[in-house]
Symmetry: C2
DNA sequence: TATTGTTATACTCTATAACTATA
DNA sequence: TATAGTTATAGAGTATAACAATA
């Protein structure tokens, strides 16, 4: 098989696998924890941050979100009691998002099923050597893509 | 490195790479052909179908879409002159979507840049052996995920 | 002057249910 | 009875620009 054919195979499999996986994860998180994948991701970022706290802008930068998009999601999470927003002591312009106990519970409720979906869907079909090669290649691809995508700060500069 | 660590590496790289790639593709297609990735994908399905024709339901089944979602997208594409909808001669309930010349032009306008993004973003960092292994693993993962996801017909049965 | 975050607003997309017409 | 497709409608999410407050 020539390289072009292999490339096309890999590309279509990548795109379809991504879309199928996302679908499965959304369904699982909705039924186990009643949150979206993005909300799960945001709770995860906060859960692993020191004291469960992060500045709004830093949280926005760790996703594809505009600041107004994060304001919307933070509003949803706060309404559900999963985070709180408090003023920053250091910089009075800033707002700190803090994960609540209920937020940690919700995250913990979603996590096992989430790992299960990933495990059964992605990794059960690979042996150790294949997994190793996959991790190496995907990491290289991600780093390459990171270097091509405009940074969050840059996106902010161009738009709102 | 143990298997759990490798898994986690591969998973996060996969998710982030998918999201970065999608972002780059959307931007490229919007600027080169003024269409979304989904619309590009639908035009591609029609372009490669015999005579550029497909039944609406078959087109919907080749995506994650509900039928009403496809009706919406078909409306957008038709409004832009990129497809036409005609009644089926075989089954009077059916509607056939046909890609127009303008639709083929638009697809052709988006394709080179699209391939370029994929090539530069994903494959430029892999040698032949890595590409081979990646294609094999992603194909296996996709097939596994396909077997776990409910089919489009099944989704239709449950919901609308 | 630049940065942080929110708000108002408009737009895109998606899904559900009800509906028509045909098989 | 089941299938094909549309429509009405409502909801989730996103982004832009304008804004107030602070640095």
């Amino acid at each position: 098989m020539d390289r072009a054919t292999r490339r096309s195979e890999a590309y279509f499999a990548f795109v379809e696998a991504g879309s199928l996986l996302q679908q499965l994860m959304e369904d699982q998180l909705r039924s186990d924890a009643n949150i979206s994948y993005l909300q799960f991701f945001l709770l995860g970022r906060l859960a692993e941050a020191p004291e469960g706290r992060m500045r709004m802008t830093d949280l926005a930068d760790s996703t594809v979100h505009s600041r107004s998009g994060l304001t919307y999601q933070a509003g949803q999470l706060e309404k559900a009691g999963l985070i709180q927003r408090v003023p920053s002591p250091d910089d009075e312009r800033s707002v700190i998002a803090v994960i609540t106990d209920a937020g940690r519970d919700t995250f913990a409720r979603g996590l096992p099923g989430h790992l299960d979906v990933v495990d059964k869907g992605m990794f059960s079909v690979l042996d150790d050597q294949q997994l190793d090669a996959l991790a190496t290649s995907l990491t290289a691809i991600r780093d390459r893509l990171r270097s091509q995508a405009p940074s969050a700060a840059q996106r902010r500069k161009n738009r709102g």
